[in-house]
Symmetry: none
Subunit: 188 residues, 4 copies
């Protein structure tokens, strides 16, 4: 990918994290990226397109991070714990500023089949985890989306509040939270 395009995306992510959705203008992005305002329009159709592309860019980054060090051979629980911690770490390493600040969800999303398939592909390993869990009888028989909301979403939510200083989460509390999430999706 062109050097300039990357710089523009990174600048946008940074500014979005700093000032939020409503606080950034194309001129600010240009300045932060070290390019002229007009240059942005060589790489992105308009502001909407820039934000859409940033969404996809981050989504694929996130998908990669989440499934890092996860292999099909690992036992279910270990896989789950790894993913949960990957999400947690992402926030705490200031690795994905937008995620940290909860601005990512607000990014304008492209609708439609295409987008859905992209997300399915990106999060294939997550779905595989849930599918195996249900097949083996360990997990509750619920849609993957619901399982995800119950077990992984809290990781992001907690991390966000932790990093924003809303409240502190100790290592012990964190490990307990992982267990709680596991409890949420497993049969009892």
């Amino acid at each position: 990918m062109s050097d300039k395009k990357t710089r523009i995306l990174q600048a946008t992510e940074k500014l979005l994290a700093m000032y939020g959705f409503h606080g950034i203008s194309m001129q600010m992005v240009a300045k932060e990226a070290g390019v002229a305002a007009g240059t942005i329009y060589r790489y992105f159709e308009d502001k909407d397109d820039l934000l859409h592309q940033l969404h996809d860019h981050i989504l694929s980054h996130v998908a990669n991070k989440i499934t890092q060090d996860v292999s099909d051979e690992m036992p279910l629980k270990k896989r789950f714990r790894t993913m949960w911690l990957n999400i947690w770490k992402m926030a705490n390493q200031e690795d994905a500023p937008l995620i940290n600040r909860g601005q990512f969800e607000n990014l304008p999303r492209r609708q439609g089949q295409e987008q859905y398939q992209l997300e399915q592909k990106l999060f294939a390993k997550v779905n595989q985890l849930f599918d195996e869990g249900k097949a083996s009888g360990q997990f509750k028989q619920l849609d993957n989306e619901i399982l995800s909301v119950l077990s992984l979403e809290p990781s992001a939510c907690l991390a966000r509040k932790h990093v924003n200083g809303v409240f502190n989460v100790s290592d012990d509390a964190r490990d307990a939270a992982i267990e709680a999430c596991w409890d949420a999706i497993t049969q009892h």
Copy 2:
């Protein structure tokens, strides 16, 4: 509260739900509320203040709704279930347009001690639920905030996706989700 001020807040909520954050201007709010543009500035310092106050306005509405039909005499589980469903219903009854559309989180939030205390007061009954649960040994020994993220947050998250059509949640699945959230916070 002054009639005009209420009308302005309601107009803002309606427009925010209809057009999103980007799509509203002070003139639109004025028109919708049936007042002159300048009048808004009698009741709100500036646009930011209007949005902040709207945040608090909605927050207190939400707090009321969540604890509706919840009394201290009900058993823990029933109280929890009622709150969970109150959150769920709020979204599905188009009762809180901003919540439904996920615009509420984007509202600029005041930071700081003051805001924290307001939220504590509003959600006192929720905290009481968790405190009792922990005291009786039924709940895990985790901070209330963490318990909330594990058990109530998924209700809002699920409802949002359900109402936005991201995916469908049947009545059975919903009840199973409530059980799962209960599993997350209870001891095993």
Copy 3:
């Protein structure tokens, strides 16, 4: 008509005459009119609307000027000569800067029935002249539009070139030109 609106129209006309169609911006108009840029948009929907309204504004001014001192009792030739000279004078008195500089024709024109009827009404006296001339057998049996192109258009064209200094037209030459235009439309 609002004072500000008039000032904006006059400023536009002046700038259009000075810099031509392509040389003016809304900010220039605002500055020349002594109003803020945003004020223009209280009176005109957009730049196009401003130009359209200027067109109509000038058209009605021109129609008034052309038929000044023309009464139905005057003999045909005197009426014709008066109109011809009214056009001529308009240019030479710097009375209608846009006409002088031939920028008027370039103004974006509204199309359609409505516009046509407006023009018919404005130039009713001109049409009446041609109709009477044809009825009495003095004029050639041609459409009023054609008679107009043959006899009055040259007045504007000549005046434009005279005032722009393309060439000089003496008083005698001007009177001869009026006779020539009369020859063009009368029977021989």
Copy 4:
């Protein structure tokens, strides 16, 4: 003339006719001409120069067309009629797109002696016609410019309105208009 320069001029004329003065940019011209944007600046100083040169380019095309099939041996009236019809035909054959659409007059014109001499040379045959007519006593003793405005200008004006659909001109009306123009410049 360089192949590239010709292509640029033709592209400009085409785009100007299609989109009007406002609708063309140098990048569009470059694309239409099949050259890089920077290349235009090898052949033209700037946009103004391109437009000026296009003006002259078209002017010389027009001059050629007007005097087509006109020879010194033809009687005055036949020469006049031929020129009048040449102008008429140019518009109706979609031969000179800019003329047809009235965009030609808007082209920025160079002022001054030099420009005047160019036009004199281009329209030498037209001047010759008027000079002979005056010498033989057939034409009125008026400057060639005035005679031209009285007799040839109406052809262009009529053709423009005809082609733009402002009103329809039948073949009979057109012939009558030629006679009327002849009447305008001849002695009676």
